[in-house]
Symmetry: C2
Subunit: 515 residues, 2 copies
């Protein structure tokens, strides 16, 4: 029997997916096990695999196979919403996105980003923003050109944001972030003024191996499957997948801070479980991925914050932690532990931020991105603008650029625009999904306190993970939560936490809820 | 300036080398870190990378670039023996070898071997040789077909052997192996009859992590560079390279046998140092590899046996070992240790064989291969023939096929013919190279006893490693040792060892030296 057009398309797409999976293994090894000498060849090998994958994905053969598959599905009257229709729909979308980019432009941009990243690794420790100004100016020009290639849009950042968060626009985000800013600013001010908890016992020392083992045991309970994954230490933790059945997570730890390994591991397990939870029929297709940066982040944030920083979960898990570190945690109970891991100390570093300030870090970056892209802010003024926004938004500012505009790798390793909104979308969505899960499962706190964490991950698998890219992000929110993006569940969660933990209660008016 | 033809060829070859390097990383990960769930996608990814590498190597573009480079070198009168001449010579040889194989044949054979290997992993533990007979018959047919594709030869096995050991023929090997058999048989009989040493203290228990750390420290002293490599545990140890600057070794250990981790690690470090010692100018070319299986094995055997099983080396290293395991080695000295690690107990397992019987295991296999290929032995009779040869050659036989014809993976995962001779060529060459090194460096035992192991590896680097495939194996022997393949240095080494360790001294006549 002749191969169907859809099967032929699947076969060609599987090769592309497998080339990307192989490239991801090279990336994983580079960050976990590679000896320093391996760097030069690894850069060549990675670039080559990505190039071969790109060539195959944009080949005439694949374009023909896609067109034939579309005709075939029409001819047989395949129903919308079936896996084959989703496959050709998403493949067509990706192909149009990739085909819109001239090969020379992509090469130029990638070469620029590689040298930009290299320069940043030296400029950041040297606190040398001046060196990066001309580099960033070029990145900005190329980012605008990228947006143009991707097609007309209301705002220059819209096509860039759409690459990570399909269907989400600057207009939507600006409204959402304005609401968050108005409510979070007074809330943060109030909790930061409260008496800080005693968290000295988090400094240990805690042997790293025991921390990693404890964290791994916990995320296995969450539902992260180590027969289809593993945990390794690295410098900058990430989750990465070579197939649906090999999804690895990484973490890092400090022997003088018990939080680092725990929350890094919990966070990455959320990303990892998303990929492990994909429908096996999506294997080696473009559908086998999270549907957006925001939805991906909602999963990691759920396990890091909603579970990992909740009192309910530690009612179950703290006795296990104390069994692991009986000396270091002598005289500490779950109440004290919960207060300690939720200490609020507004600072200048995003990745160390507590839940009350985290989104304000994101909003600062998002607004700066828009100003840069729109030409309202010159790159030469970015350093000072960063500090001003921090003072205005968080009430603190770094005294150098190292912890200012040079802080995050994003602008120095990818296009400017679309890099940060996913973090806050993730927080907002985590709260919306949590509410939906409570509707289906009942009181989640009661489940967590009993040690039942697997019900939540099973719910995520059924409602979110298994769909992969078959359901677009806003459609997924509609389907699971019965509405659109809504910051209220997230703001309610934070307000309740502020009240319970810090005795802080704001009038709705003061919070700007009903101005 | 336009790219020269040689530079263009180099660029195309670098892509092929990098695709193979990437595939090797996938193989390494599969054997060291991959979770079980990763197997299915990994098999696809590996097959795909190999296929892409093969397509690129045998592409018309590469053939044109090679022809142009040959013309260019002729036009400018490039000298023979220069790196460019070597590059086109070896590329031409590889290309002719690969081009001789029809794509359909290669695919058929690879698919057969994959299923053969899979079947063997089940048949061996089940001791089910009958199941493998039809599989092996097919492998044998395909091996003969492979030999035919590779070109006319005196013996059907010649082209198969040439794939691993260029320039070595069945005629040469038969003569060499006859000499070895004649001298080793009585020597083995004599040493096996000697009083066995006390080696109970090797059973420990010895914690594995400490064994691996000790072994790694030793091979770093040998010259294995961990800035360009690393050591990981695995089931079936190997060395593997992703570039000249990322060459990894693997090992295994038993807590009840101190020999396993030590000698596996020493062995693989020899392979690893060979690749790390290549001239950096050979990076990402077909010249960046060992020149033959035999020469490669000579390097691993040197460190495993000539160094690792010598009294001189342990005069230096035993105090370090005893510091690591003071309880387990209380009351043991380097003399007793040296005797214990050289205990001779003729058995049926090749990989556990002592130095006196090892080559007899190889010779049994080599002769069976020739008999199978020549049609003198039917696959159906292989199981019994194996046991008969063992009884005749080693005086022992297994009571099952699991430790008989099913023992080694080779015949079940690659062509029949050419798989085993390299091991014994390695032993013979190790002794010839040792003699040459003593000519240049003086008494190696004195160096080893003083802890100077780096002089030997530096000598290997200069005389053997750096050339890679630029010098063919027999030319290398001629250049380094001033002659051809010669078993005498090896036989002298074993005779001396038999005398010193076991008080065994054979008349030359009895050993068949001058019959």
């Amino acid at each position: 029997m002749a191969e169907s057009a859809v099967d032929r398309l699947r076969r060609l797409l599987a090769d592309v997916a497998d080339l990307r999976g192989a490239a991801f293994l090279l990336t994983w090894d580079q960050a976990t096990h590679m000896p320093p000498g391996g760097a030069a060849a690894r850069a060549r090998q990675l670039a080559l695999l990505k190039q071969v994958a790109h060539e195959r994905f944009t080949s005439p053969a694949l374009a023909r196979a896609l067109a034939a598959a579309e005709r075939e599905l029409d001819a047989i009257g395949a129903p919308d919403g079936g896996i084959e229709r989703d496959l050709v729909r998403i493949t067509r979308r990706d192909l149009e996105r990739d085909a819109a980019l001239p090969a020379t432009f992509t090469r130029t941009f990638n070469e620029h980003l590689a040298s930009s990243y290299q320069a940043w690794t030296e400029a950041r420790p040297a606190d040398d923003l001046a060196r990066m100004v001309p580099v960033l100016e070029r990145t900005l020009d190329l980012s605008r050109e990228l947006a143009q290639h991707l097609g007309p849009a209301e705002h220059v950042a819209d096509p860039l944001i759409a690459r990570s968060d399909h269907g989400v626009t600057v207009a939507q985000l600006s409204a959402l972030f304005a609401q968050l800013r108005a409510r979070l600013t007074p809330l943060l001010r109030a909790v930061a003024a409260a008496e800080p908890p005693d968290d000295g016992f988090l400094r240990g020392p805690y042997p790293l191996a025991a921390q990693f083992a404890f964290a791994l045991e916990r995320v296995r309970e969450f539902g992260y499957d180590t027969r289809r994954g593993r945990l390794d230490p690295t410098h900058h933790p990430f989750a990465i997948e070579f197939s649906i059945d090999d999804v690895r997570i990484t973490t890092r730890g400090r022997d003088d801070d018990l939080r680092e390994a725990l929350f890094c591991t919990f966070h990455e397990s959320g990303h990892g479980m998303y990929h492990q939870g994909l429908d096996p029929r999506l294997e080696a297709t473009p559908l086998a991925d999270g549907t957006s940066a925001g939805v991906h982040e909602s999963q990691s944030r759920t396990w890091e914050n909603r579970v990992g920083r909740s009192l309910a979960y530690w009612r179950y898990a703290f006795p296990l932690l104390r069994d692991t570190f009986p000396q270091q945690l002598a005289g500490v109970d779950e109440i004290a532990f919960h207060r300690a891991i939720n200490a609020v100390r507004p600072g200048v570093i995003r990745t160390q931020a507590d839940e009350f300030s985290y989104d304000l870090h994101v909003i600062v970056r998002f607004e700066l991105e828009l100003d840069l892209l729109a030409g309202r802010l010159a790159v030469a003024d970015l350093g000072e603008a960063w500090h001003e926004r921090y003072r205005a938004t968080l009430g603190v500012a770094a005294d150098d650029d190292r912890n200012g505009a040079l802080q995050d790798v994003h602008w120095f390793s990818r296009e400017i625009g679309g890099a940060f909104q996913g973090y806050t979308l993730g927080n907002v969505l985590a709260a919306q999904f949590w509410q939906a899960a409570e509707r289906d499962l009942g009181d989640l706190d009661a489940l967590l306190a009993s040690g039942d964490v697997a019900s939540l991950s099973a719910w995520q698998r059924t409602n979110i993970h298994r769909h992969g890219r078959r359901v677009d992000p806003l459609d997924l929110v509609e389907r699971v939560c019965g509405g659109g993006l809504d910051p209220e569940p997230y703001l309610d969660y934070l307000a309740t936490k502020a009240r319970d933990l810090f005795g802080v209660s704001l009038d709705a008016d003061e919070g700007g809820r009903r101005p």
